[in-house]
């Protein structure tokens, strides 16, 4: 089991990068192969999902421990928790938004095709998973 943890620490960031890339490349494929112009609204879930993944990786894991003394005073734990909370809210809103767009694309014929909607959901999910994977890597020390 120990070996697995070591191996994960070595290749983990690479796997996170691969998943992140896969998410965005699916979206690029959908935009390129779409027969209609994909409006900017459809790009938003992916962009905000990437932002959310960046946000919850920017947290220094030591800061949410119980005996952390910060230069801002004793009760500054709430800042980190607020940051994480906003990151989670943004990521869930993105997921919901991309699923909503998929349903909308599936129902009408005039807008983007179903593949655009599916690629949007895939992009959101894969980007968030990649953020999670990267998070597990640097907390292995």
């Amino acid at each position: 089991m120990e070996n697995l943890a070591l191996l994960w620490g070595i290749i983990g960031p690479g796997v996170a990068g691969a998943v992140f890339g896969a998410g965005w490349w699916f979206w690029v494929d959908a935009v390129v192969c779409s027969s209609v112009q994909v409006s900017f609204l459809h790009y938003l879930p992916g962009i905000f999902a990437s932002l959310a993944a960046l946000m919850f990786n920017a947290v220094n894991k030591d800061e949410i421990g119980y005996d952390y003394y910060s230069p801002y005073g004793d009760d500054s734990e709430w800042r980190v928790k607020l940051w994480l909370f906003v990151a989670y809210v943004v990521s869930f809103v993105c997921l919901a938004g991309s699923v909503g767009m998929l349903v909308q694309d599936a129902l009408t014929d005039k807008g983007p095709s179903v593949w655009t909607g599916v690629a949007g959901v895939l992009q959101c999910v894969l980007v968030l998973i990649s953020g999670l994977i990267y998070w597990t890597c640097h907390s292995e020390d």
């Binding site: 070591l6 620490g9 070595i10 290749i11 983990g12 960031p13 690479g14 796997v15 996170a16 990068g17 691969a18 998943v19 992140f20 890339g21 896969a22 490349w25 690029v28 494929d29 390129v32 192969c33 990267y134 890597c137 640097h138 292995e140 020390d141």
Partner: protein
Amino acid sequence: MARSMRTCLHSGRLALLAILVSGGIVLQILACALYNNWWPMLTVLMYLILPMPLIFFLGSNSPSMMSNDGDTWVNFTKFLTGASIVGSIAIPSILKHAGVIGWGALTMELSSFLVFGVAILWLIQMNSEDEYSSAF
């Protein structure tokens, strides 16, 4: 094994590695030139990002890449490598899906990527072997 024999083998392996890399480049260019369609050259962008952790960290103390150090920059370059690996598979596939290139160009691109991958893995393995042998 005698010392001269070992250096001969070592330079032989380096030569083979160079042949592999140039083979990969030839495949990449052939994929464009044979079909007179220069779109697949976009993949070269990904090939530039791919060896970044090697370039930055293989020269300095090697253990920093193969160990669990968790230095932020090492992690970030590994992230970029992962993304560029997926990108170099994804760009030809997207071009094929959009109908810009054909099946032949796609297989040539993917085989060029495989050749580069084998070359880089072999380079890493050769480097870690060098560490062990020079420690004696």
